[in-house]
């Protein structure tokens, strides 16, 4: 079905612009047209559907769903619900307190907090549109496994004393969970699509433009020399580079796709993208309101090591 965007780019590049096949410029232009039309189409349709699904899972419901479940089941559920529950980093604190107050174990709360930003619909749409469904699925499942695993480890460390003291004193009130009509869900979804697109459209365009230049001008296998599987430092370096790029996941993924076509191995690519989405400096600052710094460091450390590990595994298998 996505072939239609290749055909569209063929027509515009070769017929309207009259560019000749095989040139660097032609390839860059073709790539840019194909990817922008495809990605924006996918973003609008998929985010709309995701938002409709999300309207059924407000965080208050997720919370009551997770409370009192068997520990392992709770980790798995928390990671999975992280994908569909609406989350923005400025809500991280009330969400954290709400979970802890409901008696949800700390580790389970972290499984949710890790999966929610990492496995988000924008990243998945871009991965699906640019890399195909296989890589999108690999990202989804490894992302969930990272969230479950890191959450379990944090839970085992018994770090409750490193949660800010006032958190334990807060008592949460009972709010009615608003029931929405279908009309309201559709309204909500429309607003959600608009809000997300407004935030990311420029990054997406910029990312695809840089990606297009890389596709057109950088020689094949260029990166294989420097960042191929034979360089053991490539994965940790990719992860460290990914951290400051947060909130630009939308702009980073098209560039990464282009880099992968120039020889960046899959494991390094995955590790880099996970670092971009999961580890963000602004979110740590926000979480420092509810977590003492020992716990934040542990959280960052465990997630970093897990992601690096994922990178090595995939580079080793493939």
């Amino acid at each position: 079905m996505l072939k239609i965007f290749t055909i569209l780019a063929d027509i515009i590049t070769y017929q309207w612009f009259g560019l000749e096949k095989g040139h660097h410029l032609t390839e860059a232009v073709h790539f840019f047209i194909e990817d922008t039309t495809k990605i924006f189409f996918l973003l609008v349709t998929i985010i709309f559907v995701v938002a409709i699904i999300r309207s059924f899972f407000p965080p208050e419901r997720t919370r009551s769903f997770l409370a009192g479940k068997n520990l392992f089941v709770a980790h798995v559920l928390a990671a999975a619900l992280g994908v569909v529950t609406p989350f923005c980093s400025c809500s991280a604190c009330p969400l954290f307190i709400g979970f802890v107050e409901a008696g949800i174990p700390l580790g389970v709360t972290f499984s949710f907090l890790i999966s929610s930003p990492m496995v988000n619909e924008v990243a998945l749409v871009l991965l699906f549109g640019l890399f195909g469904w296989k890589i999108a699925a690999i990202y989804l499942f490894t992302g969930l496994i990272v969230a479950i695993f890191a959450g379990i480890i944090i839970g085992k460390l018994n770090m409750e004393r490193y949660v800010a003291d006032y958190v334990w004193e807060i008592r949460m009130g009972q709010a009615e969970i608003p029931t929405m009509t279908w009309k309201e869900r559709i309204q909500y979804a429309k607003g959600y699509v608009r809000e997300i697109l407004k935030k990311i459209w420029l990054y997406v365009l910029g990312g695809i433009a840089v990606g297009a230049l890389v596709h057109g001008y950088v020689p094949e296998d260029f990166l294989l020399k420097y960042a191929g599987p034979s360089n053991p430092l490539a994965v940790p370096v990719a992860v460290i580079l990914g951290v400051p790029l947060y909130s630009n996941a939308a702009g980073v993924i098209p560039i990464v796709e282009a880099l992968m076509s120039k020889g960046l191995p899959l494991g390094t690519t995955l590790a880099f993208m996970m670092a971009v989405t999961a580890l963000s400096f602004p979110e740590m600052v926000i979480l420092s309101q509810v977590l003492k710094k020992q716990l934040i460091m542990t959280f960052v450390g465990i997630v970093t090591v897990t992601i690096i590990f994922v990178g090595y595994i995939f580079n080793f298998i493939i």
């Binding site: 407000p58 965080p59 208050e60 919370r63 609406p86 989350f87 923005c88 400025c90 809500s91 604190c93 009330p94 969400l95 307190i97 709400g98 107050e101 006032y166 004193e169 807060i170 008592r171 949460m172 009130g173 009972q174 709010a175 009615e176 608003p178 909500y188 607003g191 809000e195 926000i286 309101q289 509810v290």
Partner: protein, 77 residues
């Protein structure tokens, strides 16, 4: 009438406050719009996703940047 905007001070909370003030003005109501940033108070309303909006002590919505029109509906109802 008292309108409270729940949120730690993120951009969406500020935008919601502005929308609430606009809604009050358009309806010509006597109402004060107040920001609640203290986490304990936000949680006491049972709200887990910010921003939230409370009218006369009752939570009217959360987790979304409500438009001026939507807030007008809340204030009428």
């Amino acid at each position: 009438m008292k309108i409270e905007i729940l949120g730690p001070g993120c951009p969406r909370c500020q935008a919601l406050e502005a929308n609430a003030k606009e809604a009050v003005k358009e309806l010509g109501l006597e109402a004060e719009v107040e920001k609640v940033t203290e986490m304990g108070k936000i949680m006491a309303y049972g709200v887990m996703s910010t921003p939230g909006i409370v009218v006369d002590g009752k939570v009217k919505g959360s987790g979304k940047l409500f438009s001026v029109e939507e807030i007008k509906e809340m204030l009428k109802g």
